[in-house]
């Protein structure tokens, strides 16, 4: 079921094509490194804030016991304080390993930080994202991030000698790892066979051909724009989709500019005031023409072809 096809699909260097088991090529965008760093920082903030809140809450609820924990040795510790301590150690362990694991195993395949930056974890071979893969990529996080950070934290005390420098080199090595492969994989991704991709969120926009002058007359002036074969043949798919974007954005200045360009190109006299209707009509007719060509296997990429 694993069908893999990766290729650069022109333009955006982060675009890849992934072939689903059904044989449909779905474009997928590798998450930018900036988004991933952002997600990581956000996750750390969440973890840190969460742990601080829990600690404060514990202090507030069991203040007396907490004093006992800090002052007493383990021989004189009471049962309740002991229990609290266990909970605390267990919680830190879970926060360190469980947070990323639990969220990435969820249906969104993303930690809260990743969700906010709009990215998610996916399996590189277009198959299922398995629990093992998520475990593997998160265990590796330990040497990529936590280990060197610990080195760096103890470095200022001078106890560990050159460990700080070693930690820094280590840290930089793994941080640089995503920059040396085109899919921006970190070491954990390599081991787990995963990558981090953008999680698309697209809303279905209105159909353009059902509104306004695309259907016939302009609402404003009642004029009907009809274009001949020659006038429509100057543009291709690329221009059509640019025009679509302009129409959907609805920016008056852009509409006027595009209107003028098209008029000049097809040799019409650019008027003013009814640009939108003109463009809607032109869009609908150009698209009808190009799509008609498509059905016969003729495609016109852009105005140059």
């Amino acid at each position: 079921m694993s069908s893999l096809a990766m290729g650069m699909a022109g333009g955006n260097p982060r675009r890849r094509t992934m072939v689903t088991p059904e044989g449909i090529a779905v474009p997928i965008t590798v998450a930018s490194r900036g988004a991933r760093v952002g997600a990581l920082i956000l996750d750390f903030i969440f973890l840190y804030v969460g742990m601080t809140i829990v600690t404060l809450l514990l202090v507030w609820m069991f203040g007396g016991l907490m004093d006992e924990l800090t002052e007493d040795t383990r021989e004189t510790m009471s049962g309740a304080a002991e229990f609290l301590m266990i909970i605390y150690i267990g919680m830190f362990f879970l926060a360190r390993y469980g947070y990323f694991l639990a969220f990435e195993l969820g249906p969104r395949g993303a930690t809260p930080g990743k969700r906010i930056t709009g990215i998610r974890v996916a399996s590189r071979d277009a198959g299922r994202l398995t629990a093992e893969a998520v475990i593997a990529r998160n265990l590796l996080r330990d040497i990529e991030l936590f280990m060197p950070l610990v080195f760096l934290l103890v470095a200022p005390s001078g106890e560990a000698g050159n460990a700080g420098l070693a930690g820094l080199a280590w840290f930089l090595l793994f941080m640089a790892f995503p920059f040396f492969n085109k899919d921006a994989m970190r070491a954990g991704d390599v081991i787990a066979g995963t990558w981090v991709v953008e999680a698309p969120k697209a809303k279905l926009a209105e159909t353009l051909s059902t509104q306004g002058a695309a259907r016939g007359a302009s609402d404003l002036t009642g004029a009907r724009y009809q274009f001949g074969d020659e006038e429509l043949s100057v543009y291709g798919e690329h221009e059509l989709q640019t025009l679509e974007r302009v129409l959907r954005d609805g920016n008056a200045e852009a509409l006027a500019a595009v209107h003028e360009t098209i008029c000049r190109k097809i040799g019409w006299n650019p008027g003013a005031g009814d640009e939108r209707a003109f463009l809607e009509a032109y869009y609908a007719q150009l698209r009808a023409r190009l799509e008609g060509g498509m059905r016969f296997g003729r495609r016109k990429r852009d105005k140059f072809s």
Binding site: I24, L129, M294
Partner: protein, 354 residues
């Protein structure tokens, strides 16, 4: 089946009714308007699944999901050949991708994964890396011998090998009584559970490190194993010098059979990754790394579990049970249990696991 049922899917009327199909001038827009209802339904289901509210999805919708997904996927292929509407294409691409993540997502659930893991998956993964386990075992034994020999040659090595936290009374030149005392038991169970939790957290760190270092072709994993075992060898030498080797072995075996086994597995898992990256065979390095990485991760999940056991054994059983024979009994039983679980307990793989 379009409009009457449709209204119920959009509970709060969040989507306006699409324009009449007949009003579309273009054929490709008519194609889109005819199918828009299905796409919207799919998007609705996918959104629900993404937010984890599986309960809110009716059985009918859940059954329809694969069909809707395939419909959307085929709509996308058709649209690519017939439509130039960028908005529709982008939307469909995003929708198919999102639906694909849900249809082929980690839909196993943690509990099902866990039961598959405990009943067969874990021991299967351990057996799959048997060669690495043998290598790691050999390296660990070598490490112990090396530790012993080094200290025997020059006592200074003891201070270099053994971390200061262990070198309280356990230093060369200590009397038999002092050494025996470190092998003794505690009066009560007070404070021991904290000790257990601390030990677990600490050991799990070492094990995960041994695994993760396998990334560098497994060499650092082996070095870590050698170093840890050299410490053991050095201490063994110290105790043997006072004729306490059996007492020491018994003291260690209570939790050591579990803990050292776990560290052995962790090192073997790391080595497994390193080995498959160094010698990927006819696979690409990336494929080899990810295949072995997933297998090793399975082993590692179990290692963490073993270390929980080891932590409790170390803190309670070892500190409370005093007799040499009793300690050997506990340690031996644990070892036998683990061996039986990993190598005798064979359960055929489930169909859906690849």
């Amino acid at each position: 089946m379009r409009s009457p049922i449709l209204s119920s899917w959009f509970g709060r009327g969040e989507v306006a009714a699409p324009p009449d199909v007949e009003s579309a001038v273009l054929r490709s827009d008519r194609f889109r308007l005819e199918r828009e209802g299905d796409w919207a339904r799919l998007e609705h289901i996918v959104k629900r699944m993404e937010s984890g509210r599986l309960r809110g999805i009716s059985d009918e919708d859940l059954l329809a999901l694969p069909i809707l997904y395939r419909t959307a996927a085929s709509s996308l292929s058709v649209a690519r050949e017939t439509s130039l509407d960028l908005a529709t294409l982008t939307y469909l691409e995003a929708l198919v991708q999102r639906a694909w993540f849900q249809v082929y997502g980690p839909r196993q659930g943690l509990t099902r994964w866990l039961s598959g893991f405990l009943f067969g998956g874990w021991s299967r993964a351990v057996r799959a890396i048997w060669l690495d386990i043998c290598v790691a075992l050999f390296v660990m034994l070598t490490g112990t011998v090396v530790g012993w020999l080094l200290v025997e040659q020059d006592k200074e090595w003891y201070y270099r090998l053994v971390p200061t936290q262990f070198a309280d009374a356990r230093v060369p030149g200590a009397s038999r009584e002092q050494l025996l005392e470190t092998l003794g038991t505690e009066e009560g169970a007070n404070g021991l559970s904290v000790f257990a939790a601390y030990l677990f957290s600490n050991n799990a760190g070492v094990a995960i490190l041994a695994f993760a270092l396998g990334f560098a072709f497994g060499i650092p994993s082996l070095l870590l194993l050698v170093h840890n075992m050299a410490v053991l060898g050095a201490m063994l030498w110290l105790f043997a010098g006072q004729g306490l080797e059996w007492e020491f072995a018994a003291w260690l075996s209570v939790h050591g059979t579990t803990e050292l086994f776990a560290i052995l597995l962790a090192g073997a898992a790391g080595l497994h990754i390193g080995r498959s990256m160094a010698f990927p065979g006819d696979r690409s390095i990336l494929t080899a790394a990810s295949e072995s990485g997933r297998r090793a991760a399975m082993v590692m999940a179990g290692v963490v579990l073993m270390l929980v056991f080891a932590g409790f054994l170390e803190a309670f059983a070892r500190q409370l049970v005093g007799g040499t024979a009793d300690r050997f009994l506990i340690g031996g039983t644990m070892l036998a249990l683990w061996l039986a679980y990993f190598f005798a307990y064979r359960r055929p793989a489930q169909g859906d696991e690849s």
